[in-house]
Subunit: 325 residues, 2 copies
Amino acid sequence: MHRLPPDHYIAGIQAGDRLVLSRAITLVESQLESDQALALQVLEAVLPQTGNAIRIGITGVPGVGKSTFIEAFGKHLTSSGKKLAVLAIDPSSQRSHGSILGDKTRMETLSMDPLAYIRPSPSGGSAGGVGNKTRETMLLCEAAGFEVILIETVGVGQSETVVHGMVDFFLLLMLAGAGDELQGMKRGIMELADAIAITKADGDNAAAAERARVEYQNALHLFPPAPSQWIPPVLTCSALQNQGIEALWRLILEHQTRLTQNGFRDRNRQQQNLDWLHRTIRQQLETRFYRQPGMPERLAQIESQVQKGELLPLQGAQLLLTSWL
Amino acid sequence: MHRLPPDHYIAGIQAGDRLVLSRAITLVESQLESDQALALQVLEAVLPQTGNAIRIGITGVPGVGKSTFIEAFGKHLTSSGKKLAVLAIDPSSQRSHGSILGDKTRMETLSMDPLAYIRPSPSGGSAGGVGNKTRETMLLCEAAGFEVILIETVGVGQSETVVHGMVDFFLLLMLAGAGDELQGMKRGIMELADAIAITKADGDNAAAAERARVEYQNALHLFPPAPSQWIPPVLTCSALQNQGIEALWRLILEHQTRLTQNGFRDRNRQQQNLDWLHRTIRQQLETRFYRQPGMPERLAQIESQVQKGELLPLQGAQLLLTSWL
């Protein structure tokens, strides 16, 4: 694939050129070794221009109305002149090469907004490789001048934990009437949320949404307090009627102000950087290990014995590691 | 250290000889390479006698009354003839070599009960090495004929997630009056619990405990359902007045019966074995990597730059990995 010289990427990003930004993201996502060296060079050069955006993670199960919500939320931001980047982590994009945003009906208005930039972010192949290059993509968007970064994830795999580890504010979207729709949602995710928004709080659903809000608010009080001392509020919102959207944005700003003042935001970002370092090391070690020639066959055989209880996991690990070390 | 021949360990364990069991656990916990080979041989030999116990994890912050609870719960089991092993994962034992149980006042009655076996389980040194050999110790106890294994953890580090991954039933102990005492409790832990028991539900505290029970029960209904379809109940108990202990045991038996019938218990154990295999591989890869000569110094330097945002985590990882690969 045709690549630009490093300076073109760097200057283009710093000038906020979207075409160059898109090509830089493609570069960063590339698996080619030559691309990775170039990507690192570009990232390193723009690093001083990063870190100035409010980083928001959004999760919720399919059907909760994420796209509609992000469209309404995004329009609210851009209408006040804010530059917004939306990165959608798509677990299926590995296979379908961008299925989430392949659906043209998603965020139709926002995608034509000159202040908004929407980009799917492949979830990566390897175990633990979820949102593989989403952090780097976020940095590129910050360097290109985007003031708010929304990272969207589907809330059913492990990607939401990874996303939680790269944002300042983690928003959980929920439907009124807890029950079936929670099926498949990762346990523990509620306790990571900085706020819960009950979506589709309009029409016949408005009363149920308000009841859900009160219930969740009561429940959240029973959770262990966050290290930041922030108590996660529960709101209702309606993308359809454009209600609750502004309140949510004010809440995020309040969170940002408070945590910047008490020093938690910076400490949290520092810790996230450290975690990212160790996670990257772990991923690379595992990738090299599991990609050895013949490994998939040997692994499958040992997994089968371990699963049946015929072989100790410890012993299985040793058998696999012996050939490696 | 003096070791027995493998057959002595194996026969002793299978005969339920506690002295041999204790020595086998010490062997399994040893870091010496020669010990590890012997330990694996012993474990492999007793593997067919394992898996028959009910495996229970217990967590709660310091002050919740874990020891008192386990003592009451344990006495209830042994009084009906059940053989019980208590493994206490002690995060500080790395330094103090067994501080949790060094305190002689802990579980005084239970520790003299001929049907009970109490053993601290060192949490291990490396990151992720929490409860390093606790699983293997559990298997040895099962092979020695213990019918119930309690694994105790303090609920503030990451050990409780590891313990959750090795038990059938995960019990969270809580105090009435949520608030300060939750400080430091790991977020997400409530959503892992198969039951919550509000401790010290006696005297002046009884009414508050009952209120807490109702509140937590309401809150748990809002959580995503467990893959097992089990809805975690909330109980109150008093170790002092020996109340709620029997109800809790009946509940655990009901859980065991139901999940054995719907096939979840076995599937869960199979999945736990697979996770254990991959976790062991990851730990070994990381241990070898981080224990390279000179690594602590280089790592500290790169961590400092990454933390300050002067160096990309991705780049830091590459710098550290280059010298390794």
